[in-house]
Symmetry: C2
Subunit: 382 residues, 2 copies
């Protein structure tokens, strides 16, 4: 059996939610945890000092992007990604598979791997399961993801099954490669397998069984939050999570709104990431406990209140909605800096509150109360 | 005689350079001083925490921009510019005159004032000398500038003289308005007059005499560093500075390169501002003691040294040229953040070193040594 990196600390009495701790090479990570995304080796518009200040113990970065630019040669010579970007806590890297599907102008999937053209300079590349493990070990990722075949919402059964079969073959190869690369104990990153199966329950079950059998340190649920209705997301999240063992961390990729995060936590998911808080922040959408607000609106011109009265972040302590609206309208970089900081702080705080609610066996009412205010507040009246 | 806000602390034995202290409503300012520019109420890509960390005691902001957006109504309701932008040290605002000349798509100068169209929405506005004083007092500027008529390098004698005459009339009106607005002691900002006269020595002299007679707390030298050759800049700077009284702070507007700053200090100038360090930083030009470097160049791909070995700023302590090149090439906002921070820190440190050299009567050799390295170093070999 693979090494145990996860311990459940407390299970909520009112739901499947749980708190836990993941032990990783760059320190422990308390779960449930939201991981901000640093695609190119920086969380956009945020310094590592700010990440420390907010309290993040892990961030995500993108193998596809870093592999293409600056390239693994540069990061290897720098002594790994942590040193390159000056971040001494944990880094999870994705496999690059999703970006091959969403960004590359050309791609061809064979059993060998994913051949694609770079969206930057058009050059050809092949990412095999083994190469992806190697790249992530050069990066020094604390958690690395297997290469998988992504399918979109609406994919037919046959294609979804084909993707599942290749993903499973790639998992076995990834695991062998990962065992080889960690054999000497110098690189200690943990491999996560990915459950696929699109929106077909028998395929989800089959994929989950294969993933469980592969016995990697952690398990991700892929192919959710890809455009399906919220109810479908919930249904498949619940269905898939129930197929996974209790003692391994569960990671749902690409969810970043309070609604999706709170739902995932309720189903017993431990980890999630998304560009949503930073991307929408740069576009002037700011989280509040009464729902998100669009800061450019005229109603905030003379509004000298903080973004969120209850928020204790430095943006809310020091700046008014009026000033933030002004920064957004004048296109100032400080607008992106402050909005990203606040949105990340808000989500980090939400997840911390969720952890506390789980400890106190009141997660269901916590979630209900938060979403009642979040969905009925300012955003409805804007 | 007007109130004294400036005291000379030490005069360099080898040049006209001097150290001093300006007493302002938001604390003392040690001179010589470089003031970063926060056009829209933020120094671009820099937080106020960073400004404090570097050690700035005064920043500049632009009346023209703030008057148009968010408008004086908003800043007034916010309780002034300091509270609006959350900056508790000093702010100098320009008069808006220069922006009317450089940005407005239409402008007409009469004795009454400068009529112009907004570059943002095309609306018509009139800035009179009195209105400009009023706006700056609403902003709560610690130093406010009189409205003046700017002329470009190459303006003929007659037009330069005409501009000088109007500028003088506006000065007298500005001074009356400023005396009225400070009469109750609530607003305590200091008015600076501006010497014009283009590149005609007799006009410079006439303007200087009028300015000296007006007896404002401080004096600016306008119309320099507007595209003239360095030798012409030096000649007119030297000529004009010699016409000014010793006991008032001297401010040269719009200079931000080490060469121009060190030259100005040598001529006894106390204050300067420029967007240069932040604007060029955003464009990937980074100051080093061996001259500026263009970070995007291929030679920095595997360069894991800091921007400047001798620099003690947090960017140089924590990040490599290789990483900064990567951030620049990927268009990351962090590139602008780190480059702006380093360039401002570098100039602040340069001016602090200049102050120390003046105290120790070795300014001339300090300047010579710095420029020898700066001009013969990396930038030449890039």
């Amino acid at each position: 059996m693979s090494e145990t990196i996860f311990s459940v600390v407390h299970k909520d009495a009112s739901s499947k939610a749980r708190t836990g701790i993941i032990q990783l090479p760059h320190g422990p990570v308390e779960t449930p945890v939201f991981m901000p995304v640093g695609t190119n080796g920086t969380v956009k518009a945020i310094t590592v000092d700010d990440l420390h200040e907010i309290g993040f113990q892990i961030i995500l970065s993108n193998t596809y992007h870093l592999y293409l630019r600056p390239g693994t040669g540069v990061i290897d010579a720098a002594g790994g990604l942590h040193r390159f970007i000056h971040w001494d806590k944990n880094i999870l890297t994705d496999s690059g598979g999703f970006q091959v599907f969403s960004l590359a102008p050309f791609r061809k999937i064979t059993e060998g791997g994913a051949k694609f053209r770079s969206h930057i300079d058009g050059s050809y590349h092949l990412l095999s399961p083994e190469r992806v493990v190697e790249i992530q070990s050069i990066l020094g990722s604390d958690i690395q993801m297997q290469l998988d075949v992504c399918t979109s919402y609406g994919t037919n059964y046959k294609d979804a099954e084909k993707a599942l079969i290749i993903t499973d073959k790639w998992l076995k190869r990834a695991k062998s490669a990962w065992e080889a690369v960690t054999d000497d104990g110098i690189y200690q990153g943990k491999l996560f397998a990915i459950v696929q199966g699109n929106f077909y329950k028998d395929l989800r079950q089959r994929s989950a069984e294969l993933v469980v059998a592969a016995d990697t340190p952690g398990i991700a649920i892929g192919g959710l939050s890809v455009g399906e209705p919220f109810e479908v997301f919930t249904e498949y999240l619940q269905y898939t999570t129930a197929l996974l063992p209790e003692h391994k961390p569960r990671y749902v990729m690409g969810i970043g709104t309070p609604e999706f995060i709170l739902e995932a936590i309720e189903q017993g998911v431990d980890m999630f990431d998304c560009v949503f808080p930073t991307r929408t922040g740069r576009n002037g959408l700011l989280f509040t406990r009464q729902g998100p607000i669009t800061i450019k609106k005229g109603k905030y011109e003379y509004d000298f209140n903080p973004i969120d009265e209850e928020c204790t972040c430095k943006v809310c302590r020091n700046y008014s909605r009026s000033y933030l609206r002004h920064l957004y309208r004048t296109g100032e970089i400080l607008s992106s800096i402050l909005a990203s900081y606040h949105n990340l702080y808000f989500l980090h705080d939400l997840v911390r509150s969720a952890r506390r609610a789980i400890q106190e066996n009141r997660y269901t009412s916590f979630k209900k109360d938060f979403l009642y205010s979040y969905k009925s507040g300012t955003s409805k009246n804007e």
